[in-house]
């Protein structure tokens, strides 16, 4: 038997999941219409952020499913990383250029962004 509290918890979870999906597909729609090289999920993020800021969507309406998604976001990258297997030929062909340029460039961005912000925000 499903009692009343369980039903409320479940319906709140469903509501938050539907809101997040609504903004995702709204974002995908915008991407489809504008053909900009920016993915629908990024538009969805911006629109949900906007909707929360103009008090259209209160925080607790998106929190149930949202916090679960955020808690497991790293997990969702596991199959993405395993997918590197598909590119092993392409990567091994150019490995030196790829490794040197990405390592140096990534470290340069990391340190310069952190350092500049720390200077400016004081």
């Amino acid at each position: 038997m499903i009692n009343k509290t369980m039903f409320i918890t479940m319906s709140h979870f469903a509501r938050s999941a539907l809101i997040i999906l609504f903004f995702l597909y709204l974002g995908k729609g915008i991407q489809y219409i504008t053909h900009l090289p920016i993915p629908g999920s990024i538009f969805g993020l911006l629109l949900l952020f906007l909707a929360m800021n103009i008090r259209l969507i209160p925080l607790n309406y998106v929190l149930p499913a949202g916090s679960v998604l955020l808690n497991y976001i790293t997990l969702f990258f596991v199959p993405v990383g395993v997918g590197l297997l598909q590119y092993s030929n392409l990567l091994s062909m150019h490995w030196l250029t790829i490794v040197v340029s990405s390592v140096v460039s990534t470290l340069a961005v990391l340190v310069s962004v952190g350092w500049i912000y720390q200077r400016l925000a004081k």
Partner: protein, 230 residues
């Protein structure tokens, strides 16, 4: 049992997270360990990677709503973001220019393969943006996608250690640096470290993604001009 590999991903990741959590080393990263486990499995056994990819579609699909959910930590930090808006925009803009120009400079020294060069330009941003940009400027989208993932893993692994080493201790600065250099994988790591780091990393992910989509074609245009001069 077509979803066996989906459950395997969940199990290996949760086990890695539990076992590795007391170990204070950047290499004790559950994401890295889980990925290496499966790459090893499909490289050294006759098991088929394609079955794994098919079974794990639900997790790949959940990435998109998870990116939308990044609006939550962003909203929770909105007053800080408004207060520091100028500093955020300046540091992210400089970050994007450094990301593209350092990568270009080093790659030019090591290769004369123009397609490779163009595929490397968008390496610091989230893979859908990187792939779209690579397509637009004449790079190879699949090569960009692979490099993007590798860069994200590098940032997630080494990012916070490097930042600490360089005395960058402000949680906002750390978040922005992770988001600018290692996109969504770096942001996932930043979310684990703290809410402020997570929110500022999400912000940098969005800003640097959009700026890269605008700036990368300009750099590609410069490469083309230099090429015709030579």
């Amino acid at each position: 049992m077509i979803y066996f590999y989906l459950i395997a991903t969940l199990f290996i990741f949760l086990a890695a997270r539990k076992v590795l959590s007391p170990i204070q080393s950047p290499l004790a990263n559950p994401l890295l360990v889980s990925i290496l486990f499966f790459i090893g499995l499909f490289s050294f056994t006759p098991l088929n990677y394609q079955d794994y990819a098919t079974a794990n579609q639900p997790f790949i699909w959940l990435l998109e709503p998870a990116v939308v959910a990044l609006a939550i930590p962003l909203f929770c930090q909105v007053s800080q973001i408004k207060k520091q808006f100028k500093a955020i925009m300046i540091s992210c803009s400089v970050g994007v220019v450094i990301a593209i120009s350092t990568c270009l400079f080093i790659a030019v020294l090591l290769t004369n393969d123009k397609t490779l060069l163009l595929s490397l330009l968008p390496k610091s941003v989230t893979s859908p943006i990187a792939m779209a940009v690579a397509n637009e400027i004449g790079g190879l989208a699949s090569l960009s996608a692979a490099v993007v993932i590798a860069v994200g893993l590098l940032g997630a692994l080494a990012g916070f250690s490097v930042l600490k080493l360089c005395k960058i201790t402000d949680p906002h600065a750390q978040g922005l640096a992770m988001g600018c250099s290692a996109h969504a994988i770096g942001t996932a790591k930043a979310m684990e470290v703290g809410n402020e780091q997570g929110a500022f990393s999400s912000l940098a992910l969005v800003i640097s993604g959009i700026l890269t989509a605008i700036l990368a074609p300009i750099f590609a245009w410069l490469i083309n001009i230099l090429n015709t001069v030579n």
